[in-house]
Each structure stands twice: as C-alpha cells, then as structure tokens.
Amino acid sequence: MIQCKTSKAIGGMGHSLKRKEDVRFIQGAGHYVDDIKLDGMLYMDIVRSPYAYAKIKNIDISEAMKVPGVAAVVTGKDLEKYNLHWMPTLMSDTQMVLPTDTVMYQAQEVAAVIATSRYAARDGREAVKVEYEPMKPIMDPYKSMDPSSPVLRTDKPGKSDNHIWHWEVGDKAKTDEVFKKAEVVVEQHMHIPRIHVASIETCGCVADYDKINNHLTMYMTTQAPHAIRTVIALVAGHVGLTEEKIRVVSPDIGGGFGGKVPVYPGYVIAIAVSFLTGKPVKWIEDRSENLQADSFARDYHITVEMAGTKAGKIQATRFKVLADHGYTDASANPSKFHTGLFSIGTGSYDYDTAFMEADAVYTNKPPGGVAYRCSFRVTEAVQAIERITDLFALKVGKDPAQLRMENFIKKEDFPWKSPTGWTYDSGDYHAGLKKAMEAIGYDSLRKEQAEKRAKGELMGIGISTFTEIVGAGPSKDFDILGIKMFDSAEIRVHPTGKAIARFGTKSQGQGHETTYAQIIAEELGIPAENIHVEEGDTDTAPYGLGTYASRSTPTAGAAAAVAARKLRDKARKIAAYLLEVSEEDLEWEPGKFSVKGAPEKAKTIQEIVFAAYTNHPQGMEAGFEATHYYDPPNLTFPSGAYICVVDIDKETGQIKVRRFVAIDDCGHIINPMIVQGQVHGGLTQGIAPAMYEELIYDEDGNILNGTFMDYLVPTAVESPHWETGHVVTPSPHHPIGAKGVGESPTVGAPPAIANAIMDALSPYGIHHIDIPITPFKVWKALKEKGVI
C-alpha cells in the first residue's frame, strides 16, 4: 500500500483521486481543435502527391477556382514570394512547406485549397490538376547509403550523398578489445519498424490572424505550445509576426504520443493564408493524411552484439544503427541528441564497456521521426538490449530470469554510472523482477512449459527488465532550438485559499489537471479539489517546453513542488507573524502551521493565505503567488520488470497473450489510479508494434496501409487483461521523488512479448523474428524449419 501524508480530503500524493478533467469529457464537453468555430472561418484541404518522388511540371488551379465556395489555391510558388516555402525542422534540417518543383514522398503536400466550407474545400482539392514527372524513389535506407545512389536532397548545395549524420558514444577500442577476448559473443540484426502514433484525434489547427491588431491566435494540436510560438516567430518574424503578437492555444488534445510535437506544413500554410486573408482558417487532417504524412516513429535498423563469459556474466555491448529519416530529419529530439537517448541501451546490467554508433540517411519516405509514447529512441534501444540479453542467456544455457538476476546493477550501487555516460538515479531491479516472477508464478509456468513442449505445444515466457531515461532535461545538455529544457509552474492562491496553477506543459490525456493539483495539495495542504490547473495558453502559462518524453512530472511536476515550497516558506513567515512566535517555533503538517508543544495554537493555510492579502507583515510583499522554472539536475531513470506468457497455435501461427504482468518503478507515485491507467495504455501501445503495427511501403514508394482498415491499431479484443504493480525507489534528486511513467510500458512491453514468442519457438531453432511478429511470420519461420 502506498502511504499518504495527507488526508483524503486534501488529496495529496498517493491518493487515487478521481480525475477532475473527466467531468467535461464524459459529457461531450471536451473542447478539441475541430470544435472551434469562428465567424467567417475558411476551411483548408490539401492536395497531396500520389508519387513518392516526382518533378512537378505544372499545377493547374483553374478548375478548382470555379468550384463554388473555393476562395484560393495556394502553391509553393505563392509561399516562395514570402520565403515561406521551406521551414527549419527541430533538428536543424529543412522541410518543404509546399514544394516549388519536387515532391519527396507519397502524400506530401502539393497545394492547399481554401474555401468557405469543408465540403467545398474537398471538392476544390479534387479539381486541382497537377502534372508530375515521376522518378524512381529510394525506399531502402541501405541502398540510399550506397555511394552510387542518386542524391535526393539536391536542394542542399554541395550535397553529394544521402547521408545525414554520424553519431557515436562509448569506448570503441576498449569494446573491440573485450569482444575480441570474450568467451561468448552473440549478435542479432533487427529492424524496429516504422510506426505511427495514430492518436485517435488527428492533427489540426485554426489560425486566426487579426489584421487590424497584427495579432495571431493559433489554436492547434500541439504538445508544446510555447516552443511552437517561438518557432512561428522565428519562421514568420520577417513578415511582422513577432513573438509578442502570437498566442498559441492548445485546447483539449485527443492523444499526442509525440505525434503532436512537430510543426507540420499544414499549420504553416494555415497561418500564411490567415495572414494574407485576415480570416480564420481551419485545417483538420483526415486519418489517411495523418497516417501517410505526419511524422513516423522508430525505423531503426540495428545490429546489436553482446560479449560475456560462459558463466553468463555480461561484459560488453556494441550497437550499430542505420536510421531511416525519410526525406528530411524532422525528429523531435533535444538538439544535441541525434539519436535521442538511444545510449540508454546498455540496459539494467552491471558492466562497464559499450560502444554505439549510428548513421542517418535520407529516403523517399515521410519525414520524422518522433517518439511513439517513448522518450527519444529509448524503445529502440530497449528492444535491442532486451532481445540480445535473451539470446545471450540462450547461448550460455541460463534461464533468462536467472541471467538477469545475476547481471543486474545492485540497488546499493546507485547512483550508477553507465558505460555511455549516464548516471542512473535509483532502482531495485532485483526486487522488481522477483515481484513480477512471483505474481505470474514463474516457476510453475516453466514446469507447464516443459510439459507442453514434450507434447509439441508452443508456449513461451518472455521477460523484459528495462531502464528508461526520461525527464529531459538538464540545461547543460538539453535544449530544443537553443531553448533549455526546463519546465515551469506558476501558483496563485486567491484570498479565500483556492488556487489556480499554470504550467508550461500540456496534457493530452495524462491527467495533469488532477496530478499537478495533488502535488500542490501535498506541499501546501490546500485540497486538490480547490486547485484549478490550466495549461496550453501561451498568453497565460509560464514558458515551458511541453509534454512528451515522460517529462511532465520530472520537470513541471518538480516545478510545482518547488513553487509550492516557496509559498510554504512565505506561509511560515506569515504564520509566525500571526501567532507571534518565531519561525523556528512552528511545525508544519499538511494544511497548517502550529506552535511546537502547543498544537492548539495553529493557523491553517487558508487563514495564512487570507492574511497574505488582508493582514500581511509590514515589509513583506502582499499576495500569495510563486513561479518556478525547474532545471533538473539529472534525468530520471524509471525501470520495470515485465513478464509475458504466450500460447501459439502451431498450425496457424496465431499468438495469444495469455498473461502479462508489469511491475514498474516510477519512484514516488502521485496518483496510483492514474499511474496504473498510464501503464495499461502504454502496454497496449507496446503490444501494438510487437504484434500489429508497421507502416509498409512498396518499392515504388506507395504506402500499403495508410488507413485504419490496414494500419492495425489494437482493439479491446487484441489487448489482454493487463496485470500491474510497482516497486518504489524514489528519485533522490527529484523534489518529490517521482520519475515519470507514461512511456515505460510502451518501452518495456515489446521485448517482453517478442521474447515470449521467441521462447515458444526456440525448441525449433527459431531465435529471432522482427517485430511486428504476426501469425504469418511465425508460420513462415516454422515452415522454413520444417516443423509444419
């Protein structure tokens, strides 16, 4: 049981408070971007390329302009006049807003139709005639790296190949040396396929430019409204839209998962059109556009190796990555981290030698990549380390649980320095795995498996014991376009003791309106229900970098605690004044200060706040407000031990996830109900890439599954009944000891599932299948081995 310091009435940390935001959502009163309707609003629809790579010979808009209701058709040439046809990506690459001569991927924006209604815009889009000269696209990243391949980014002067960047970390010489001498080396190549976040709400915006006041209000589906405001100012400052004239509002968001971090061309076109017409312009993607053109996630080709002893001691790992970024590197990573936080991939194991390198390459695919409910490439890294750990266990003939137990970093060794330079803050990996094994009945499952194997039946047990890295991040290393990755909280307590708190983050379903209130309630003793949390409006919220990469609790959550503590310090001063004692004579319990040894002499927080406005000490600033910009001293390192049991139909390859136990360590828990909900959701987004989801292209660059009919988002039937629990090792450097949790399950689940499936198939010499592992792939592997 989780211990709570506050009463249920106050509702601080540890209480499973029901969510405050749900009241509107369950009644259909959520307010999403497509719900916005403004007077005179125009609608935008986008003409997209049917080809993956083509020259644009001509765009004929004459028929489109005849469609009733169509007001304008905007092309790249139109934007070129304002130098708005290209924009920078977050990774300092460049991306077309609208092309002037070449399209680089199928479904790329080609022209925008503006009309007085959604239907007219769609009709206009149909009537725009574009003449293309198709070229042979490059879809395979390995072919693209071949020096003989044609150069794709001919817009870049002097570019002579399709290579984007090279990255490496670790000690290459030492790693090579350990590998050379190692008793056991295992190696596996794997592709972590291109997937899509596919939030149920697609992306969209309403750009509302007020010509008279030269002011833009941009309502949009963004996870990072402040950063977007700065980006708009950087892109459009030269036409007079400077940052004080821009307000970005992120209304309720129907799921983000990283897909609503980037700036998509549609947003920029909508702003440009609103700027030119002085009218509000709405752009809402449909699902096909969302799947086919918005940023993808993953698409890493990885070769991973592990070296160790025959006795099963891990000694070193080596990773080599080829990253397919599509036609531009539009990743949403911190600036200095080309591969995000992939270097967490050395895992939860105690060894000191590793080397990783990665190369990125252009292809004729949509640009990206973003996370998919994961902290900057951590999922790719964890898939690699947890798969290779299993292969190592297999090679040395050890049970994968036993091997992990023997190699884990010990809890007393934290803070622990990883071979790639991270300092893990805290953890108890042994306790986590032990708890998971007990919960699932590991030993009896292994017995059952032995009996089933004897009968030729396929049953598998898979483990993943991962370490995450979240909460980006410390300003010495972490920035986006130069802006340091702090985050912020501002708390204003009103004279009657009720508060409003604003943040630089933006919930997309994480429950910030509840959990931030709980953090403040914990620190100040003001009931959470009396704390109104607001995010997403750059005019009112303090500057922050937004919500992604499980950073909200580690950064803005910390800011809330620190800001509240500033207020508690002030409260102590006021209480001392009111009670006529010295500050040292006071003691705090949630909600009041009382005099030590005389508990009847006390002032409640509400009385103290009232005094701050009505009877504050002379010389003290009136009011009861605090703001804090929190610059984390380190990242946080949540961890988990997941065990999955699968049964496989040998004849059809169908895989049934029988049970799945997830034990997470996210440090101190703010709201157990919400943490559990986040874990459930993340697990379903873990089974998704493990067994169902992948964006598939043919060699001509056509996407083969660009709708929800073929892009297989799991339903309640595919999603198993998840079983969850936790161990708690508080983060020592975080003000409330929390670590962040939203993404751990997405990171940890795929290797647990893949390991379970491979465990089931391992008696037949089948040791690796790339995710998503489908019945067809299982059948094919069994067929190739002559099993069926």
Partner: protein, 287 residues
C-alpha cells in the same frame, strides 16, 4: 473525406426503386446498409450520380420459416442475423460468421443482402451461403426470379444481378437431422477481412458424410465452393486422413494472392487448416 455530390432518392416501394434503376441506369447505386458503399464514395473511388436508398421499402426486413425454407429479407441487418434464434438455432454458422463481420456498429447497419450483392469474395456471407446451398431472389422490372447461389457469383465483384434488379431475399433450406455447421476466419485483428475463412455445412449418416457444403472466404477472386473437397468427403468417415486430404484439395483449388495478410502459400495452408477444423466442429455439432 467527403463524397462527390449526388442525387438521393428514397423510394417507398420496390416498384419505385426498380423504376429509378431503370431511369438512371448504371449511374445509380443501391444504398442498403451503406457500409461498403459510403466509404468508397468518401474516398471517391465510387462516384454514383444517384443513390437509391431502399431502406424505406417495407417487407424486406423479416426472417421467416416457410415451406421448408428460411426466408431472409435482404434488408435484415447483420446484427439481426447474429441474434436470430431461428437462424442460429438451425445453423450455428450464422452466429459463428456474423460475430466476425466488422464490428457491432457496422453490423447494426450492414445488411445480409448487401453483403452478398456486393459480390466481394472478402465478405463472409458468400462462403456461408455457398456452404448452405442458399438461393437468392432478385426482383426486377419483370418480377422476381430465384438464383441458385452457385450461379450468383460470377466474377470479381460481379453477380448475376441485372442492372435493373434488386436482391430482395435469401432462401435457406431447413436442415435435415444430424446437420451441423461452422465458420471461422483467421484475421489480423478482430473485424478484419479474412486471411482465409471456411464455411462448412454437413449432414451425417452415422459416421459418414451424407451431404456437405464448403465455402471459402477471401482466398479467390470470386466467392468459391470447395467442390473437390466436398466430393471427396461425401460418403466417407471424417478420419484425420480424410480431413487432411479435403483440406489439401481446397488449398490447391483456391487462388489467393499475396498481400499484407500473408503469402499465397500461407493462405493456401490456412485454408487446409481451417477447413479441417471447421469440418470437425460441424460434425460435432451434427451429433
């Protein structure tokens, strides 16, 4: 996604509907449940000038037993098929198959007539009707005619319906004793079109197969009967060897294509596996 403009008609009688079909010719499309047609129109793959909504026509929505047949009106919704005691009582295959069609909301709109008239080998009821040896009633300017299901599916998305005809009813023989039926399709996820699906209806005479119908889903350009498998099993006991041979014959005879659901070889193999399992299940139910 928004359809191209069209004219909408909602005739109140079958005659009026047929009259509209005659008037508008191949520019017209019939709207029943709309769950195949409307998505195609939204994608602008289908651009009919006229949409003839037949949902207001009375008399096409009942399930009745009459003269040794169960008569199912073309506008009977999949959800009604799924929960019809008359249908599922005689033929559990209706419960098996209907619950695997798309999802509950789609089944509330989608009709059994539309599922057949679309002529789509990926739909589930064509195979079921082949296994049941059903008859289809088509009504046109010259009145109604009955079409044996084997004559109904004629090609890729092509049926025996004339342009001016509407599918109005499906007739299924009441089964003799010791009849069992079963359907299963392998799918990538719930509600998906089949990787491979097999419908089986059989009547046993002791341990021997007295009669059998086998239909296949989504493994052939045209909804397909596994004729050689049927013929092979007739008069035989359902031994493992016989089942394996029947599966092998259907796997050879179908013509699946490699796609996102798997390779041609996989699908053939799945036809064999599912056929064996469904014949077994139908036989258990027959006992």
């Amino acid at each position: 996604m928004i359809a191209q403009p069209f004219q909408y008609e909602a005739p109140a009688t079958l005659q009026d509907a047929i009259g509209l079909l005659q008037k508008y010719g191949d520019e017209a499309k019939i709207l029943a449940g709309g769950h195949s047609l409307i998505p195609m129109m939204k994608l602008r793959f289908a651009t009919p000038g006229y949409l003839i909504d037949i949902n207001n026509i009375p008399g096409l929505s009942s399930i009745q037993e009459e003269n040794g047949f169960i008569r199912i009106g073309a506008l009977v919704r999949e959800a009604e098929v799924e929960h019809s005691a008359l249908l599922t009582g005689h033929y559990p295959i209706f419960a098996d198959s209907t619950r695997l069609i798309a999802d509950p909301q789609v089944r509330n709109m989608g009709t059994i007539g539309g599922n057949l008239a679309h002529g789509d080998a990926a739909n589930d009821h064509p195979a079921v009707m082949l296994a049941l040896r059903a008859r289809v009633v088509a009504t046109g300017p010259k009145g109604s005619r009955t079409i044996a299901i084997d004559d109904f599916f004629q090609g890729f998305y092509t049926t025996a319906l004339e342009p001016e005809e509407i599918l109005t009813e499906i007739q299924i023989p009441i089964p003799p004793g010791h009849t069992g039926s079963a359907y299963y399709k392998l799918e990538r996820k719930v509600g998906d079109y089949a990787i491979a699906g097999v419908a089986v209806v059989l009547t046993l005479d002791g341990n021997l197969v007295k009669s059998i119908g086998i239909g296949l889903t989504n493994v052939n350009p045209v909804p397909m009967r596994a004729s050689r498998s049927e013929e092979f099993l007739l008069g035989k006991p359902l031994t493992d060897e016989n089942l394996a041979q029947a599966g092998k014959l259907a796997a050879e005879d179908c013509s699946p294509s490699t796609d996102l659901r798997g390779s041609e070889e996989y699908k053939r193999d799945m036809v064999a596996v599912v056929l064996r399992r469904m014949v077994k299940l139908a036989a258990e139910r027959a006992k």
